[in-house]
Amino acid sequence: MVLIQVFLVFTIIAALIAVEAPSTLSSIISLGAVGFGLSIAFLWLGAPDIAITQVVVEIITLVILIRATIGKGVTDIKGNESKPMLIGSLILFGLGSAFFANYLGAFPEFGKTAMDTFSEPASQFYLKFGLDKAGGANIVNDILLDFRAYDTLGEATVLFAAILGAITLLQKKVFFEGKGE
């Protein structure tokens, strides 16, 4: 349990470095540290599927981010937004955390999942009947591909729409032959 907290503290430090680092490249590298630290934490949290997906997606994100910023007359923009924005966001954080703090007591205590507190939750059903109802041994993929396959269809569409949008924006061809544009 303490190990998970150590990894989470590591990711927070890496995130702070990523946000405050002067040069863009070093902040991207520490962003990678956030992702990989998290994926190791996921291993300890009993989620191997997520660890694999997180590592691999983190690599692709880093490659895309570095590809977009390398050689652009490195843009090390120091300093934050204008002062009022800074003060505004600090007030916002103060309000948010105050509103948040008085509910800290109601957090479900760590390690006791919603499965145990309620009578017959859906996740108990998945665990019990995952193998013979859906046929797969990996319950997470059972859920993804059979019990909640509609989610995954939406998921595949999200990626398809994002990539289609990115292609439309990055295309070299002229879009508009008419006058005016």
Partner: protein, 147 residues
């Protein structure tokens, strides 16, 4: 921009088939071991990106071609939708696991999850194709600024 040094080229040429094999393994056995369509597809895309970086854009465009990756992307998404519609026709409701209902394979075998391995493969190709296309366009787009 004709790719990186010779060492990187030879290493990536040797490693590429293993990465693709690992990607297909992760995608195919998604319903048995950790992994699944998404990480498998991303690994396959990562392998193509590695080749593009190592050999430079023009070489890789001849071998794979960005247009074909787009076609793979659309076709794989369409096949996922058709699996759903087939479920609608055979299994009574949209996206139902009609193969598993019909003839379930042996529980821990490769073909055990009904139409789960098929959907896994479709997602794997889709994610692989689409991520490679985005990276190719990003790389291509940047090329214009340099020349």
């Amino acid at each position: 921009m004709n790719g990186m040094s010779r060492i990187v080229k030879t290493v990536s040429r040797w490693v590429a088939p293993f990465i693709i094999a690992f990607g297909i393994y992760i995608a195919l056995t998604g319903h048995l071991t950790p992994g699944g369509g998404f990480p498998g597809g991303v690994i396959i895309a990562g392998c193509f990106i590695l080749l593009t970086l190592a050999y430079g854009k023009d070489r890789v465009k001849k071998i794979i071609g960005v247009g074909s990756a787009e076609i793979v992307d659309s076709l794989a998404s369409l096949s996922f939708l058709c699996m759903g519609l087939l479920g609608y026709v055979f299994g009574g409701s949209f996206l139902s696991n009609f193969i598993q209902a019909g003839f379930p394979g042996n529980p821990f075998g490769l073909l055990s999850g009904g139409n789960m391995p098929i959907i896994n493969l479709a997602i794997g190709f889709k994610v692989g194709g689409s991520l490679f296309v985005v990276f190719a366009f990003l790389a291509l787009f940047r090329a214009i600024e340099e020349d």
